[in-house]
Amino acid sequence: MASELITLKTTGLKTDEMIINMGPQHPATHGVLRLLLTLDGEFVKHVEPVIGHLHRAQEWQGQNRTWFQYQALIDRVDYLSGMFTSWAMARSAEHIEDIKVPLRAEYYRVMVSEMNRITSHLLWLGTYLIDLGAMFGFPFYPFREREKLLDLFEAIAGQRMMFNYIRIGGVQHEAPDGWFAKLKQFTEDFPDRVDEYEAIVTENPIFLKRTKGVGRLKKSVAMDYGVTGPSLRASGVNYDLRKFKPYSVYDRLQFEVPVMEGDGDTWARYMCRIAEMRQSNEIIKQCMAQIPGGTADELREKRKACNSCGKEDCANCGGDLKLSGKKQMAGMRIKAGEGFAAVESPRGVLGCYIISNGSDKPARFRWRNPSFSNLSVLPELLVGSPIADIMAVFGSIDVILPDVDR
Protein backbone atom coordinates (compact mmCIF):
# COMPACT_ATOMS: atom_id res chain seq x y z
CA MET A 1 0.00 0.00 0.00
CA ALA A 2 2.83 2.33 0.87
CA SER A 3 4.20 1.92 -2.63
CA GLU A 4 0.99 3.25 -4.11
CA LEU A 5 1.35 6.40 -2.03
CA ILE A 6 4.82 6.86 -3.44
CA THR A 7 3.57 6.45 -7.01
CA LEU A 8 1.02 9.18 -6.44
CA LYS A 9 3.80 11.46 -5.28
CA THR A 10 6.24 10.67 -8.08
CA THR A 11 3.71 11.12 -10.86
CA GLY A 12 3.17 14.66 -9.69
CA LEU A 13 -0.51 14.09 -8.94
CA LYS A 14 -1.29 16.10 -5.86
CA THR A 15 -4.05 15.51 -3.40
CA ASP A 16 -4.77 17.44 -0.25
CA GLU A 17 -4.48 15.67 3.03
CA MET A 18 -7.60 15.48 5.06
CA ILE A 19 -7.74 15.21 8.84
CA ILE A 20 -10.82 13.49 10.16
CA ASN A 21 -11.99 12.10 13.45
CA MET A 22 -13.02 8.50 13.68
CA GLY A 23 -14.96 8.26 16.88
CA PRO A 24 -15.18 8.82 19.82
CA GLN A 25 -18.63 7.39 19.26
CA HIS A 26 -18.06 4.87 16.57
CA PRO A 27 -20.10 1.68 16.57
CA ALA A 28 -17.15 -0.56 15.85
CA THR A 29 -14.79 0.57 18.59
CA HIS A 30 -16.61 -1.30 21.38
CA GLY A 31 -16.11 1.54 23.75
CA VAL A 32 -15.00 5.07 23.26
CA LEU A 33 -11.92 5.51 21.14
CA ARG A 34 -11.07 8.47 18.97
CA LEU A 35 -8.74 8.00 16.04
CA LEU A 36 -7.31 11.17 14.60
CA LEU A 37 -6.70 10.19 11.00
CA THR A 38 -4.67 12.02 8.42
CA LEU A 39 -5.85 10.74 5.07
CA ASP A 40 -4.32 11.00 1.66
CA GLY A 41 -7.29 10.17 -0.50
CA GLU A 42 -8.28 6.66 0.44
CA PHE A 43 -5.08 5.91 2.35
CA VAL A 44 -4.07 6.51 5.92
CA LYS A 45 -0.96 8.63 6.34
CA HIS A 46 -0.96 9.14 10.07
CA VAL A 47 -3.00 7.86 12.98
CA GLU A 48 -3.15 9.19 16.47
CA PRO A 49 -5.28 7.21 18.89
CA VAL A 50 -6.76 9.55 21.48
CA ILE A 51 -7.67 7.56 24.56
CA GLY A 52 -8.92 8.39 28.01
CA HIS A 53 -12.63 8.85 27.36
CA LEU A 54 -13.36 5.96 29.71
CA HIS A 55 -10.84 6.91 32.37
CA ARG A 56 -12.31 6.01 35.74
CA ALA A 57 -9.17 6.48 37.84
CA GLN A 58 -8.95 2.80 38.71
CA GLU A 59 -5.48 3.23 40.21
CA TRP A 60 -6.61 6.11 42.38
CA GLN A 61 -9.65 4.12 43.48
CA GLY A 62 -7.44 1.17 44.38
CA GLN A 63 -5.28 3.38 46.55
CA ASN A 64 -8.22 4.99 48.28
CA ARG A 65 -10.25 1.92 49.07
CA THR A 66 -9.52 -1.00 51.33
CA TRP A 67 -8.32 -4.26 49.84
CA PHE A 68 -11.72 -5.76 50.44
CA GLN A 69 -13.64 -2.89 48.86
CA TYR A 70 -11.52 -2.66 45.77
CA GLN A 71 -11.84 -6.35 45.00
CA ALA A 72 -15.42 -5.72 43.96
CA LEU A 73 -14.41 -2.98 41.53
CA ILE A 74 -11.63 -4.83 39.79
CA ASP A 75 -13.86 -6.67 37.35
CA ARG A 76 -14.69 -3.30 35.80
CA VAL A 77 -11.10 -2.81 34.65
CA ASP A 78 -11.67 -5.22 31.82
CA TYR A 79 -15.33 -6.03 31.74
CA LEU A 80 -15.00 -8.98 29.38
CA SER A 81 -12.44 -10.85 31.43
CA GLY A 82 -13.16 -9.99 35.02
CA MET A 83 -11.77 -13.27 36.29
CA PHE A 84 -8.33 -12.36 35.02
CA THR A 85 -8.23 -8.88 36.49
CA SER A 86 -9.25 -10.27 39.88
CA TRP A 87 -6.70 -13.00 39.52
CA ALA A 88 -3.84 -10.64 38.70
CA MET A 89 -4.56 -8.55 41.77
CA ALA A 90 -5.04 -11.61 43.97
CA ARG A 91 -1.77 -13.14 42.80
CA SER A 92 0.09 -9.94 43.42
CA ALA A 93 -1.24 -9.62 46.96
CA GLU A 94 -0.59 -13.31 47.60
CA HIS A 95 3.00 -12.84 46.46
CA ILE A 96 3.52 -10.02 48.90
CA GLU A 97 2.06 -11.83 51.88
CA ASP A 98 3.17 -15.30 50.76
CA ILE A 99 -0.31 -16.78 51.05
CA LYS A 100 -0.64 -20.38 49.99
CA VAL A 101 -3.72 -20.85 47.86
CA PRO A 102 -5.45 -24.21 48.42
CA LEU A 103 -5.26 -26.58 45.49
CA ARG A 104 -9.00 -26.85 44.98
CA ALA A 105 -9.23 -23.07 44.77
CA GLU A 106 -6.43 -23.02 42.19
CA TYR A 107 -8.34 -25.49 40.03
CA TYR A 108 -11.47 -23.41 40.37
CA ARG A 109 -9.48 -20.36 39.32
CA VAL A 110 -8.10 -22.04 36.24
CA MET A 111 -11.49 -23.42 35.32
CA VAL A 112 -13.46 -20.19 35.60
CA SER A 113 -10.66 -18.24 33.94
CA GLU A 114 -10.54 -20.52 30.94
CA MET A 115 -14.32 -20.29 30.72
CA ASN A 116 -13.89 -16.54 30.82
CA ARG A 117 -11.29 -16.74 28.04
CA ILE A 118 -13.80 -18.60 25.90
CA THR A 119 -16.58 -16.07 26.55
CA SER A 120 -14.22 -13.21 25.77
CA HIS A 121 -13.07 -14.75 22.50
CA LEU A 122 -16.66 -15.63 21.57
CA LEU A 123 -17.78 -12.06 22.04
CA TRP A 124 -14.80 -10.91 20.01
CA LEU A 125 -15.67 -13.35 17.24
CA GLY A 126 -19.28 -12.21 17.01
CA THR A 127 -18.58 -8.50 17.08
CA TYR A 128 -15.57 -8.76 14.80
CA LEU A 129 -17.71 -10.28 12.10
CA ILE A 130 -20.14 -7.36 12.50
CA ASP A 131 -17.18 -4.98 12.16
CA LEU A 132 -16.37 -6.65 8.88
CA GLY A 133 -19.91 -6.16 7.70
CA ALA A 134 -21.30 -9.64 8.27
CA MET A 135 -24.71 -8.43 9.37
CA PHE A 136 -26.48 -11.68 8.53
CA GLY A 137 -26.89 -12.95 12.06
CA PHE A 138 -23.69 -14.85 12.47
CA PRO A 139 -23.00 -13.21 15.87
CA PHE A 140 -25.86 -15.18 17.34
CA TYR A 141 -23.94 -18.42 16.95
CA PRO A 142 -21.06 -17.48 19.31
CA PHE A 143 -23.44 -15.61 21.59
CA ARG A 144 -25.51 -18.76 21.99
CA GLU A 145 -22.53 -20.57 23.56
CA ARG A 146 -21.46 -17.50 25.48
CA GLU A 147 -24.87 -17.34 27.07
CA LYS A 148 -24.48 -20.88 28.39
CA LEU A 149 -21.20 -19.99 30.04
CA LEU A 150 -22.61 -16.76 31.46
CA ASP A 151 -25.37 -18.82 33.06
CA LEU A 152 -22.71 -20.99 34.67
CA PHE A 153 -20.90 -17.87 35.90
CA GLU A 154 -24.12 -16.59 37.35
CA ALA A 155 -24.62 -19.87 39.16
CA ILE A 156 -21.16 -19.93 40.71
CA ALA A 157 -20.46 -16.26 41.32
CA GLY A 158 -23.88 -14.62 41.36
CA GLN A 159 -23.07 -12.31 38.46
CA ARG A 160 -22.86 -12.71 34.73
CA MET A 161 -19.97 -10.35 34.06
CA MET A 162 -18.79 -8.61 37.23
CA PHE A 163 -17.96 -11.76 39.11
CA ASN A 164 -15.93 -10.73 42.17
CA TYR A 165 -15.29 -14.45 42.43
CA ILE A 166 -11.51 -14.76 42.69
CA ARG A 167 -10.46 -13.22 45.99
CA ILE A 168 -7.12 -12.70 47.69
CA GLY A 169 -6.21 -16.13 49.02
CA GLY A 170 -8.61 -18.24 47.00
CA VAL A 171 -12.08 -18.14 45.54
CA GLN A 172 -15.39 -17.17 47.01
CA HIS A 173 -17.91 -19.96 46.57
CA GLU A 174 -18.17 -23.68 46.01
CA ALA A 175 -20.03 -24.50 42.81
CA PRO A 176 -23.75 -25.23 43.21
CA ASP A 177 -25.25 -28.66 42.57
CA GLY A 178 -25.31 -29.69 38.96
CA TRP A 179 -22.75 -27.06 37.92
CA PHE A 180 -20.07 -29.57 37.02
CA ALA A 181 -22.51 -31.67 35.02
CA LYS A 182 -23.61 -28.66 33.00
CA LEU A 183 -20.03 -27.59 32.39
CA LYS A 184 -19.15 -31.13 31.31
CA GLN A 185 -22.02 -31.08 28.85
CA PHE A 186 -20.78 -27.75 27.52
CA THR A 187 -17.21 -28.93 27.04
CA GLU A 188 -18.45 -31.95 25.11
CA ASP A 189 -20.58 -29.86 22.78
CA PHE A 190 -18.25 -26.95 22.34
CA PRO A 191 -15.73 -28.35 19.80
CA ASP A 192 -18.62 -29.06 17.41
CA ARG A 193 -19.83 -25.50 17.86
CA VAL A 194 -16.38 -24.16 17.00
CA ASP A 195 -16.46 -26.34 13.89
CA GLU A 196 -19.73 -24.62 13.02
CA TYR A 197 -18.19 -21.16 13.28
CA GLU A 198 -15.21 -22.25 11.25
CA ALA A 199 -17.46 -23.75 8.58
CA ILE A 200 -19.11 -20.36 8.16
CA VAL A 201 -16.15 -18.06 8.56
CA THR A 202 -12.70 -19.53 8.04
CA GLU A 203 -12.84 -20.36 4.35
CA ASN A 204 -15.37 -17.71 3.49
CA PRO A 205 -14.00 -15.88 0.42
CA ILE A 206 -15.24 -12.48 1.56
CA PHE A 207 -13.72 -12.97 4.98
CA LEU A 208 -10.43 -14.08 3.44
CA LYS A 209 -10.33 -11.03 1.18
CA ARG A 210 -10.94 -8.70 4.08
CA THR A 211 -8.36 -10.31 6.37
CA LYS A 212 -5.59 -12.13 4.47
CA GLY A 213 -2.48 -10.01 4.28
CA VAL A 214 -4.18 -7.08 5.98
CA GLY A 215 -2.62 -5.41 9.02
CA ARG A 216 0.63 -7.32 9.09
CA LEU A 217 2.35 -7.09 12.45
CA LYS A 218 6.01 -7.94 12.26
CA LYS A 219 7.58 -9.95 15.05
CA SER A 220 10.18 -7.30 15.83
CA VAL A 221 7.61 -4.50 15.90
CA ALA A 222 5.31 -6.47 18.16
CA MET A 223 8.12 -7.19 20.61
CA ASP A 224 9.30 -3.59 20.54
CA TYR A 225 5.84 -2.31 21.48
CA GLY A 226 5.28 -4.90 24.19
CA VAL A 227 2.34 -6.48 22.37
CA THR A 228 1.21 -9.67 24.09
CA GLY A 229 -1.48 -12.27 23.87
CA PRO A 230 -2.93 -13.80 20.69
CA SER A 231 -1.83 -10.74 18.70
CA LEU A 232 1.79 -11.55 19.55
CA ARG A 233 1.47 -15.27 19.04
CA ALA A 234 -0.13 -14.70 15.65
CA SER A 235 3.12 -12.96 14.71
CA GLY A 236 5.08 -16.10 15.45
CA VAL A 237 6.39 -15.42 18.95
CA ASN A 238 5.82 -18.32 21.29
CA TYR A 239 5.10 -16.34 24.42
CA ASP A 240 2.33 -17.39 26.73
CA LEU A 241 2.73 -16.97 30.47
CA ARG A 242 0.75 -20.14 31.07
CA LYS A 243 3.55 -22.12 29.43
CA PHE A 244 6.46 -19.75 29.78
CA LYS A 245 6.23 -19.01 33.49
CA PRO A 246 3.62 -21.53 34.61
CA TYR A 247 1.61 -20.17 37.49
CA SER A 248 -1.20 -21.73 39.49
CA VAL A 249 -1.69 -25.33 38.28
CA TYR A 250 -0.92 -24.80 34.61
CA ASP A 251 2.20 -26.96 34.95
CA ARG A 252 -0.04 -29.92 35.78
CA LEU A 253 -2.16 -29.53 32.66
CA GLN A 254 -1.42 -30.75 29.17
CA PHE A 255 -2.05 -28.14 26.53
CA GLU A 256 -0.38 -26.53 23.59
CA VAL A 257 -0.20 -22.84 22.91
CA PRO A 258 -1.27 -22.07 19.35
CA VAL A 259 1.42 -20.05 17.56
CA MET A 260 1.06 -18.92 13.95
CA GLU A 261 3.87 -18.85 11.43
CA GLY A 262 5.18 -15.79 9.66
CA ASP A 263 4.10 -12.16 9.86
CA GLY A 264 0.83 -12.06 11.69
CA ASP A 265 -1.96 -10.68 9.55
CA THR A 266 -5.52 -10.23 10.63
CA TRP A 267 -6.42 -13.73 9.55
CA ALA A 268 -3.64 -15.24 11.67
CA ARG A 269 -4.96 -13.43 14.72
CA TYR A 270 -8.40 -14.85 14.03
CA MET A 271 -7.01 -18.38 13.66
CA CYS A 272 -5.00 -18.00 16.84
CA ARG A 273 -8.08 -17.12 18.88
CA ILE A 274 -10.11 -19.95 17.40
CA ALA A 275 -7.35 -22.40 18.32
CA GLU A 276 -7.13 -20.92 21.81
CA MET A 277 -10.82 -21.53 22.42
CA ARG A 278 -10.33 -25.20 21.63
CA GLN A 279 -7.33 -25.36 23.94
CA SER A 280 -9.22 -23.66 26.75
CA ASN A 281 -11.96 -26.21 26.35
CA GLU A 282 -9.42 -29.01 26.78
CA ILE A 283 -7.99 -27.31 29.86
CA ILE A 284 -11.42 -27.12 31.46
CA LYS A 285 -11.96 -30.82 30.80
CA GLN A 286 -8.66 -31.71 32.46
CA CYS A 287 -9.40 -29.47 35.43
CA MET A 288 -12.73 -31.17 36.01
CA ALA A 289 -10.98 -34.55 35.99
CA GLN A 290 -8.11 -33.46 38.24
CA ILE A 291 -9.77 -31.19 40.79
CA PRO A 292 -9.08 -32.53 44.30
CA GLY A 293 -12.26 -33.54 46.10
CA GLY A 294 -14.11 -34.18 42.84
CA THR A 295 -17.18 -32.31 41.75
CA ALA A 296 -19.05 -30.05 44.13
CA ASP A 297 -21.93 -32.55 44.36
CA GLU A 298 -19.60 -35.39 45.35
CA LEU A 299 -17.81 -33.26 47.89
CA ARG A 300 -21.06 -32.14 49.47
CA GLU A 301 -22.10 -35.77 49.77
CA LYS A 302 -18.81 -36.61 51.50
CA ARG A 303 -19.07 -33.65 53.81
CA LYS A 304 -22.34 -34.93 55.18
CA ALA A 305 -20.26 -37.42 57.18
CA CYS A 306 -18.39 -34.68 59.04
CA ASN A 307 -21.31 -32.25 58.91
CA SER A 308 -19.18 -29.69 56.98
CA CYS A 309 -17.06 -29.08 60.06
CA GLY A 310 -14.59 -26.80 58.24
CA LYS A 311 -11.70 -27.94 60.43
CA GLU A 312 -8.17 -27.80 59.08
CA ASP A 313 -7.40 -31.49 59.76
CA CYS A 314 -10.68 -32.84 58.36
CA ALA A 315 -10.22 -35.04 55.29
CA ASN A 316 -13.21 -33.46 53.56
CA CYS A 317 -12.92 -29.82 54.58
CA GLY A 318 -9.31 -28.86 55.30
CA GLY A 319 -6.02 -28.83 53.45
CA ASP A 320 -6.28 -28.85 49.68
CA LEU A 321 -10.05 -28.82 49.76
CA LYS A 322 -10.43 -25.42 51.37
CA LEU A 323 -11.47 -22.56 49.17
CA SER A 324 -9.39 -19.75 50.62
CA GLY A 325 -6.04 -19.35 52.29
CA LYS A 326 -6.88 -15.96 53.77
CA LYS A 327 -9.88 -14.95 55.76
CA GLN A 328 -12.04 -12.49 53.87
CA MET A 329 -13.09 -9.57 56.01
CA ALA A 330 -13.65 -5.87 55.57
CA GLY A 331 -10.53 -4.71 57.38
CA MET A 332 -8.08 -7.25 56.07
CA ARG A 333 -4.49 -6.19 55.64
CA ILE A 334 -1.61 -7.28 53.48
CA LYS A 335 1.82 -7.04 54.99
CA ALA A 336 4.26 -4.39 53.80
CA GLY A 337 6.17 -5.07 50.64
CA GLU A 338 5.85 -4.78 46.93
CA GLY A 339 5.11 -7.25 44.21
CA PHE A 340 4.30 -7.59 40.55
CA ALA A 341 2.29 -10.52 39.30
CA ALA A 342 0.81 -11.17 35.92
CA VAL A 343 -1.62 -13.58 34.32
CA GLU A 344 -2.23 -14.42 30.68
CA SER A 345 -5.56 -12.79 29.96
CA PRO A 346 -7.45 -13.22 26.65
CA ARG A 347 -5.68 -10.05 25.48
CA GLY A 348 -2.20 -10.71 26.82
CA VAL A 349 -0.07 -10.11 29.88
CA LEU A 350 -2.26 -8.52 32.50
CA GLY A 351 -0.08 -7.39 35.37
CA CYS A 352 -0.64 -5.76 38.69
CA TYR A 353 2.08 -3.91 40.58
CA ILE A 354 1.21 -3.30 44.20
CA ILE A 355 3.18 -1.52 46.89
CA SER A 356 1.72 -2.22 50.29
CA ASN A 357 2.65 -0.40 53.47
CA GLY A 358 0.96 -2.90 55.76
CA SER A 359 -2.23 -0.92 56.20
CA ASP A 360 -5.68 -1.83 54.98
CA LYS A 361 -5.15 0.11 51.76
CA PRO A 362 -2.44 -0.36 49.16
CA ALA A 363 0.08 2.49 48.96
CA ARG A 364 0.40 2.23 45.20
CA PHE A 365 -1.71 0.29 42.80
CA ARG A 366 -0.63 0.02 39.20
CA TRP A 367 -2.24 -1.86 36.35
CA ARG A 368 -0.32 -3.14 33.38
CA ASN A 369 -3.04 -3.70 30.86
CA PRO A 370 -2.53 -5.71 27.72
CA SER A 371 -4.95 -3.59 25.69
CA PHE A 372 -2.99 -0.44 26.50
CA SER A 373 0.21 -1.79 24.98
CA ASN A 374 -1.59 -3.57 22.16
CA LEU A 375 -3.40 -0.40 21.13
CA SER A 376 -0.18 1.60 21.02
CA VAL A 377 0.95 -0.49 18.04
CA LEU A 378 -2.11 0.51 16.00
CA PRO A 379 -0.42 3.36 14.06
CA GLU A 380 2.23 0.90 12.84
CA LEU A 381 -0.48 -1.37 11.47
CA LEU A 382 -2.63 1.28 9.86
CA VAL A 383 -0.26 3.66 8.12
CA GLY A 384 -0.51 3.05 4.38
CA SER A 385 -3.65 0.97 4.51
CA PRO A 386 -6.97 2.00 2.99
CA ILE A 387 -9.59 3.51 5.24
CA ALA A 388 -11.84 0.47 4.82
CA ASP A 389 -9.25 -1.70 6.57
CA ILE A 390 -9.11 0.39 9.71
CA MET A 391 -11.88 -1.44 11.51
CA ALA A 392 -10.75 -4.82 10.22
CA VAL A 393 -7.32 -4.23 11.73
CA PHE A 394 -8.45 -2.50 14.89
CA GLY A 395 -11.00 -5.21 15.63
CA SER A 396 -8.46 -7.95 15.12
CA ILE A 397 -6.19 -6.83 17.96
CA ASP A 398 -9.15 -7.19 20.32
CA VAL A 399 -8.85 -4.03 22.36
CA ILE A 400 -11.21 -3.39 25.24
CA LEU A 401 -11.34 0.33 25.85
CA PRO A 402 -12.07 0.28 29.60
CA ASP A 403 -8.96 -1.87 29.85
CA VAL A 404 -6.98 0.79 28.00
CA ASP A 405 -8.30 3.75 29.95
CA ARG A 406 -8.78 2.16 33.36
Binding site: I51, G52, H55, A57, E59, W60, Q63, H95, I96, V221, M223, D224, Y225, G226, V237, Y239, F244, K245, A336, G337, E338, G339, F340, A341, A342, V349, G351, Y353, I355, N357, G358, S359, D360, K361, R364, R366, R368, F372, S373, S376, V377, D405, R406
Partner: protein
Protein backbone atom coordinates in the same frame (compact mmCIF):
# COMPACT_ATOMS: atom_id res chain seq x y z
CA UNK B 1 -3.43 -0.34 65.78
CA UNK B 2 -2.58 2.55 63.55
CA UNK B 3 -3.26 2.35 59.87
CA UNK B 4 0.17 3.77 59.07
CA UNK B 5 3.00 1.37 59.62
CA UNK B 6 6.66 2.01 59.01
CA UNK B 7 7.99 0.79 55.69
CA UNK B 8 10.36 -2.15 56.03
CA UNK B 9 13.92 -1.03 56.52
CA UNK B 10 15.85 -1.45 53.33
CA UNK B 11 18.87 -3.47 54.29
CA UNK B 12 21.99 -1.73 53.02
CA UNK B 13 25.06 -3.44 51.61
CA UNK B 14 23.18 -6.15 49.79
CA UNK B 15 25.52 -8.05 47.55
CA UNK B 16 24.91 -7.31 43.88
CA UNK B 17 22.72 -9.86 42.13
CA UNK B 18 23.18 -11.35 38.69
CA UNK B 19 22.14 -8.19 36.88
CA UNK B 20 23.96 -5.89 39.28
CA UNK B 21 27.18 -7.79 38.62
CA UNK B 22 26.56 -7.74 34.90
CA UNK B 23 26.13 -3.97 34.95
CA UNK B 24 29.21 -3.53 37.14
CA UNK B 25 31.24 -5.47 34.59
CA UNK B 26 30.27 -2.85 32.03
CA UNK B 27 31.11 0.08 34.32
CA UNK B 28 27.52 0.98 35.09
CA UNK B 29 27.11 1.51 38.83
CA UNK B 30 23.91 0.30 40.44
CA UNK B 31 22.63 -0.14 43.98
CA UNK B 32 20.76 -3.22 45.01
CA UNK B 33 17.50 -2.64 46.85
CA UNK B 34 15.32 -4.99 48.83
CA UNK B 35 13.89 -7.62 46.51
CA UNK B 36 10.44 -7.09 45.10
CA UNK B 37 8.95 -10.49 46.03
CA UNK B 38 11.89 -12.55 44.87
CA UNK B 39 12.79 -10.40 41.89
CA UNK B 40 16.11 -8.61 41.82
CA UNK B 41 15.59 -4.90 42.26
CA UNK B 42 18.27 -2.35 41.50
CA UNK B 43 18.50 1.40 41.53
CA UNK B 44 20.43 3.27 38.88
CA UNK B 45 20.93 6.98 38.56
CA UNK B 46 19.01 8.89 35.94
CA UNK B 47 22.21 9.49 34.00
CA UNK B 48 22.97 5.78 33.78
CA UNK B 49 19.48 4.53 33.01
CA UNK B 50 19.68 4.63 29.24
CA UNK B 51 23.09 2.93 29.17
CA UNK B 52 21.90 0.25 31.58
CA UNK B 53 18.69 -0.49 29.69
CA UNK B 54 20.50 -0.64 26.36
CA UNK B 55 23.11 -3.00 27.75
CA UNK B 56 20.51 -5.24 29.38
CA UNK B 57 18.37 -5.35 26.27
CA UNK B 58 21.05 -5.99 23.68
CA UNK B 59 23.59 -8.26 25.37
CA UNK B 60 23.39 -11.93 24.54
CA UNK B 61 23.82 -12.82 28.23
CA UNK B 62 20.83 -10.88 29.50
CA UNK B 63 18.38 -10.28 26.62
CA UNK B 64 15.91 -8.34 28.74
CA UNK B 65 13.93 -7.37 25.67
CA UNK B 66 10.41 -7.08 27.08
CA UNK B 67 9.61 -3.83 28.84
CA UNK B 68 6.50 -4.85 30.72
CA UNK B 69 5.61 -1.54 32.27
CA UNK B 70 6.91 1.80 33.41
CA UNK B 71 5.28 2.94 36.63
CA UNK B 72 5.44 6.23 38.41
CA UNK B 73 5.59 5.85 42.17
CA UNK B 74 5.58 8.46 44.89
CA UNK B 75 7.18 7.39 48.15
CA UNK B 76 7.46 9.70 51.15
CA UNK B 77 10.96 10.83 50.13
CA UNK B 78 11.21 10.22 46.40
CA UNK B 79 9.53 10.34 43.07
CA UNK B 80 10.38 7.05 41.38
CA UNK B 81 10.14 5.65 37.93
CA UNK B 82 9.98 1.86 38.04
CA UNK B 83 10.84 -0.33 35.04
CA UNK B 84 9.78 -3.96 35.00
CA UNK B 85 11.96 -5.87 32.57
CA UNK B 86 11.22 -9.37 31.33
CA UNK B 87 12.47 -11.35 28.43
CA UNK B 88 10.86 -13.17 25.55
CA UNK B 89 13.57 -15.85 25.77
CA UNK B 90 14.05 -16.71 29.42
CA UNK B 91 12.15 -16.33 32.66
CA UNK B 92 14.45 -14.05 34.64
CA UNK B 93 12.99 -10.77 35.79
CA UNK B 94 14.42 -7.46 36.86
CA UNK B 95 13.05 -4.31 38.43
CA UNK B 96 14.93 -1.06 37.90
CA UNK B 97 14.15 2.03 39.91
CA UNK B 98 15.23 5.56 39.20
CA UNK B 99 14.72 7.94 42.10
CA UNK B 100 14.55 11.69 42.32
CA UNK B 101 14.50 12.96 45.93
CA UNK B 102 11.63 15.34 46.56
CA UNK B 103 13.96 17.58 48.55
CA UNK B 104 15.81 18.48 45.36
CA UNK B 105 12.63 19.64 43.66
CA UNK B 106 11.42 23.19 44.00
CA UNK B 107 7.83 24.34 44.18
CA UNK B 108 5.85 23.14 41.14
CA UNK B 109 8.96 21.58 39.69
CA UNK B 110 8.57 18.24 37.98
CA UNK B 111 10.95 15.34 38.44
CA UNK B 112 13.05 14.87 35.32
CA UNK B 113 13.94 11.42 33.99
CA UNK B 114 15.61 10.42 30.76
CA UNK B 115 13.20 8.91 28.26
CA UNK B 116 13.48 5.41 26.91
CA UNK B 117 10.72 5.93 24.36
CA UNK B 118 13.19 6.97 21.68
CA UNK B 119 14.47 3.44 21.29
CA UNK B 120 11.85 1.34 23.05
CA UNK B 121 8.40 2.00 21.62
CA UNK B 122 6.68 0.22 24.49
CA UNK B 123 7.81 3.00 26.81
CA UNK B 124 6.12 5.71 24.79
CA UNK B 125 2.59 5.43 26.16
CA UNK B 126 3.65 4.20 29.57
CA UNK B 127 5.83 7.27 30.08
CA UNK B 128 3.03 9.53 28.91
CA UNK B 129 0.81 7.92 31.49
CA UNK B 130 3.39 8.47 34.24
CA UNK B 131 3.61 12.10 33.21
CA UNK B 132 -0.15 12.43 33.21
CA UNK B 133 -0.85 10.82 36.56
CA UNK B 134 2.37 11.20 38.52
CA UNK B 135 3.99 14.27 37.04
CA UNK B 136 7.32 12.86 35.91
CA UNK B 137 8.71 14.65 32.89
CA UNK B 138 10.67 12.35 30.60
CA UNK B 139 13.31 14.43 28.89
CA UNK B 140 13.54 13.74 25.17
CA UNK B 141 10.18 12.00 24.88
CA UNK B 142 8.79 12.53 21.37
CA UNK B 143 5.28 13.50 22.52
CA UNK B 144 5.12 14.37 26.19
CA UNK B 145 1.43 15.07 26.52
CA UNK B 146 -1.31 13.87 28.81
CA UNK B 147 -2.80 10.59 27.68
CA UNK B 148 -5.68 9.61 29.98
CA UNK B 149 -6.78 12.98 31.30
CA UNK B 150 -7.87 15.88 29.10
CA UNK B 151 -4.98 17.84 27.63
CA UNK B 152 -5.78 20.91 29.71
CA UNK B 153 -6.07 19.10 33.05
CA UNK B 154 -4.30 20.70 35.96
CA UNK B 155 -2.27 18.78 38.49
CA UNK B 156 -1.14 15.20 38.71
CA UNK B 157 -3.92 13.08 40.20
CA UNK B 158 -1.89 10.31 41.83
CA UNK B 159 0.37 12.69 43.75
CA UNK B 160 -0.20 12.81 47.50
CA UNK B 161 -0.56 16.59 47.40
CA UNK B 162 -3.10 16.59 44.55
CA UNK B 163 -6.17 18.66 45.23
CA UNK B 164 -9.26 17.51 43.45
CA UNK B 165 -11.01 20.44 41.77
CA UNK B 166 -14.05 20.72 43.99
CA UNK B 167 -16.20 22.10 41.23
CA UNK B 168 -15.82 18.86 39.35
CA UNK B 169 -18.16 17.20 41.82
CA UNK B 170 -20.73 19.98 41.94
CA UNK B 171 -23.56 19.21 39.56
CA UNK B 172 -25.00 22.74 39.94
CA UNK B 173 -21.90 24.13 38.32
CA UNK B 174 -22.41 24.57 34.56
CA UNK B 175 -18.79 23.67 33.81
CA UNK B 176 -18.67 20.53 35.97
CA UNK B 177 -18.32 17.16 34.32
CA UNK B 178 -21.62 15.79 35.50
Amino acid sequence: MSTEQAKPEETPNLTPGVFGQFLAEHDIPSTRLADSTGVETIEVTAANLEKALKRLRNSAETRMDFLVTVSGVESPENIESVYHLWSYEHTRELVIKVRVPKSTLGEDQLALMPTTASYWSAANWHERECYDLMGIRYVGHPYMRRILNPWDWEGYPLRHDYKQPLDALNDKNPVSFR
